[in-house]
Every structure is written in structure tokens, then in C-alpha cells.
């Protein structure tokens, strides 16, 4: 007899417990009495994740390199051009070099905007089955990271910190369907709202508030900034408009933008711990006909 009354009783009790926890957490929001439990869990698992990532980073990078080999095939001609440089990089431990180059670029970007950043590496990721798009980084309150801080990388806006423990913190990415950020078109004052749409961060939705304003593919957008820079500081490049949807008769216009930051392959990121004294406007955007 596999399906005993006892088993059903246990099932019922556990489901009730889960629903009670869920309800308490949902109704009380930020002041949830379960906050301490979550803090303990976050610091325990955060530390464990840090250790495991330290051991397995080379393995993971190798596997993802193998998994991506089909798309790499298409870029083989392009890669051949870079081969000489890559070989030199390989000899001098390509991994560390690439990461330090990314770090240098990040610091360069943040200096252009006058941001003060704390740098960190991504140590864990929550994609599916969580429906949410969040990563764990190896910097926490000890490094000055607080919840509701902006997270950037060398290319642009990445997301915002939602929770910070002593040594790790959780970042909700721009591509998370529940995240939204104020944004502004380059070279003007037209503002709108960026929403994630999942899709592994390939595209984000941009809703322009003024339906009569010009909106053309190729226009770039930067963050508009929130009040006192919480959670988003102004002037961080977000992405470039890729397609504009025809929405006749609607009050807002909708476009899809490709984020500058590669949200599916994040490694080195920076947490903006101090906002610039003045809005950098379009200064952080890369020069249009530059190398990129």
C-alpha cells in the first residue's frame, strides 16, 4: 500500500505550511518576519556558491565554450582575423587577462560618467525555473553595497541590487519581466520606461511616454535616473532601439531595444555606490563611429 492515509496527511500539512509561508511573505512585503531566515539562507548559500564558483569557473567556461561551438562556426572568418592576438592571450592565461581587460573597461566607463563603482564577479545565476532573471555577485555590505543600488558593466546598465548580505548580494537584471527603469532618448529630453521581457536579455521593451515624439531604430537610450539615484543613477547607457511597433491611437509608443550589456553572459560587473554629482547626460555613450 503505497498511498497511505499517513502520506496524504503529510502532504496536506506540508502544502498548508507552504501556503502559509507564501501568504505571510507576500502580504508583509519588505517587513516580512521571514527576513532573518532569508538573510541566513542567503549568507550560507552565498558563501557556498562563492566557493563552488571558485572551483568550477574553469569547468563552466569550458562547457559553455563547447555548447556555443555551433554559433562560433559561423564567426570563424571573423575569428581568424583575431587569431594572432588570441594566441598571445592564450599563452598568458587568456581568462585572467580577458577579465582584467573587462575590469579596465568598466573602470574607464564609470570614470567617464563620474560614477564610483565597486567591482564584483557573478557567482550564481537564477534563470529558469525561477521565471526571474537574477544573479548573485561576490560583493556585499562589507564592500559598501546596499539594496537598491545600480549595477552596470563596461557596456551599460545591468540591473539593480535587491538584497545584500555581508559578502554577496542579489542583482535583478534589466531583462527580468518584473523590473522597470526610467530611460531617456539620446540627445533629447524624451523619456520613457524600460521593461524586461525575459527572452534571455536579448531585447527589452521601451515605452516612450510622448506618442508624437520621433522614435527611429538605431537611436540609443540612457537611464533617466530615479530620485536621488535610487535605484537607478542617471546617464548609464542602456541599449539601442531595434524595432518600433506601430501603435496607432495609443498614448505611448512601444519599441524594442537591444541592451548594450550582454545580459546572458555577465562576468565582471560594477555596483554604483556613489552617483555622479551632475547627470552625465550622453557622455557615457560610446562614440558612434568608434571601434564598437
Amino acid at each position: 500500500m503505497r498511498d497511505t492515509r499517513r502520506a496524504r496527511l503529510i502532504l496536506g500539512l506540508l502544502l498548508t505550511a507552504a501556503l502559509v509561508v507564501l501568504t505571510i511573505d507576500h502580504r508583509t512585503g519588505v517587513s516580512s518576519p521571514l527576513g532573518p531566515a532569508r538573510g541566513v539562507g542567503a549568507s550560507l548559500f552565498g558563501t557556498a556558491e562563492q566557493v563552488v564558483t571558485g572551483i568550477t569557473r574553469p569547468v563552466g567556461e569550458f562547457v559553455s565554450a563547447v555548447a556555443n561551438s555551433t554559433s562560433a562556426q559561423r564567426r570563424i572568418e571573423e575569428l581568424e582575423g583575431q587569431n594572432a592576438r588570441l594566441r598571445a592571450d592564450l599563452a598568458a592565461s587568456a581568462l585572467d587577462k580577458a577579465r582584467s581587460a573587462e575590469l579596465r573597461r568598466l573602470i574607464g566607463t564609470s570614470q567617464r560618467g563620474g560614477f564610483t563603482v565597486v567591482t564584483a564577479s557573478v557567482i550564481a545565476r537564477r534563470g529558469h525555473p525561477g521565471f526571474e532573471d537574477a544573479v548573485e555577485i561576490d560583493a556585499g555590505t562589507d564592500d559598501g553595497v546596499r539594496p537598491e543600488m545600480t549595477v552596470v558593466n563596461a557596456d551599460g546598465l545591468v540591473g539593480r541590487v535587491v538584497q545584500a548580505t555581508a559578502r554577496t548580494s542579489t542583482v535583478v537584471l534589466l531583462s527580468d519581466p518584473a523590473s522597470s527603469a526610467g530611460a531617456r532618448l539620446e540627445g533629447g529630453n524624451e523619456i520613457g520606461v524600460i521593461n524586461g521581457v525575459g527572452e534571455y536579455g536579448r531585447l527589452v521593451r521601451f515605452r516612450l511616454l510622448d506618442s508624437t515624439a520621433q522614435l527611429t531604430p538605431g537611436t540609443r537610450i540612457v537611464s533617466f535616473g530615479s530620485q536621488r539615484g535610487v535605484p537607478y543613477v542617471p546617464g548609464v547607457p542602456i541599449g539601442v532601439i531595434e524595432q518600433v511597433e506601430a501603435t496607432p491611437g495609443e498614448l505611448t509608443r512601444i519599441a524594442y531595444a537591444r541592451p548594450f550589456a550582454n545580459l546572458s553572459g555577465l562576468d565582471v560587473v560594477g555596483v554604483v555606490v556613489a552617483a555622479p554629482k551632475r547627470d552625465p547626460r550622453d557622455a557615457v555613450l560610446p562614440i558612434r563611429d568608434g571601434q564598437r
Binding site: A7, A67, A124, P129, G130, F131, T165, V171, G198
Partner: protein
């Protein structure tokens, strides 16, 4: 004890490596789900539900989290019970659990009006995730349950 170690190992592996892979078509297998199914297959419905609940709480606590505590506790309790009870043979049980778990998770998220459930990309990504999970299922379930996966009396 072995079950607990397997669950924690699978969770850490899932968060630090598997979720960061960029596999073709996006989406990754859900190792934690497969471990719960495997353990429950070997130990029956009561133990399955308990282990499912514990695993769910861990999944809810392990960072990075941006969802409500208890969401996955609910889902994995049901999955653990179902897998332990068995639905016409181990193979069908695994298939049913892998398909049911994400739908159940979406339903629970919908219950608390999570805006992410409505997004259209979900319909696209859930099948991909299910296919990857089913591909990994024989290996993981065999590793966890071994030959102890009970043969369900018809």
C-alpha cells in the same frame, strides 16, 4: 542523509554552473527537480513530500532570489508526493513530474499575481526547459534512485 546531500549538491550545481550555461535555444535542465523526483521514486510518497518540502524551502532561500518564500516549497511538495506515489511506471512518473512542475510553479506565481507569469516568453521557454530536463532525467534519476526506483504495482 544521502538525499539531503544530493539535494544541496544539485542546488549549488544548478545555481553556479547549469543556469549560467548558454545552451542552444536558451533554457537549461532543472537538476533539483530531477533529484527530488529520483529520491521520491526510491522512497515513496510520505518521504517524497517531506524531502520535496525541504528542497523547496532551500530553493526559496538560496540566493539569488527575487520570488516569494514558499513558492517552490509548495511545488516540490506536490512533485515529491506525486513521484513517490507513482503514476503508471517510473518513466511516466518522471515525464509527468517534469512537465507538471513548471506549470505548477507558474500557477502558484499566478495565485499571488506575479507579473512575470503573464509574459509571452514563458510559453516559449517552458517547453525548452522541459526538453532539457527530460534529456538529463535518465542520468540524474538513475544516479539518485539507482535500482531502488520502485516498480509500481499496476
Amino acid at each position: 542523509m544521502i538525499a539531503a546531500i544530493a539535494v544541496v549538491a544539485a542546488l549549488l550545481l544548478q545555481l553556479t554552473i547549469v543556469n549560467r550555461l548558454s545552451l542552444p535555444a536558451g533554457g537549461v535542465p532543472d537538476l533539483v527537480l530531477l533529484v527530488v523526483v529520483g529520491v521520491a521514486l526510491a522512497r515513496g510518497p510520505a518521504a517524497g513530500a517531506v524531502i520535496g518540502f525541504g528542497t523547496g524551502i532551500l530553493v526559496d532561500l538560496a540566493p539569488p532570489t527575487a520570488h516569494m518564500l514558499g513558492q517552490y516549497a509548495f511545488v516540490y511538495t506536490v512533485v515529491g508526493y506525486l513521484a513517490g506515489r507513482g503514476v503508471g511506471g517510473p518513466v511516466w512518473t518522471v515525464v509527468l513530474c517534469v512537465l507538471a512542475a513548471p506549470l505548477l510553479a507558474a500557477a502558484v506565481a499566478g495565485l499571488i499575481a506575479d507579473p512575470r507569469v503573464a509574459s509571452a516568453s514563458l510559453a516559449l521557454s517552458l517547453p525548452v526547459t522541459a526538453v532539457y530536463s527530460l534529456l538529463m532525467a535518465p542520468v540524474v534519476v538513475w544516479l539518485v534512485a539507482g535500482d531502488r526506483a520502485r516498480v509500481i504495482p499496476a
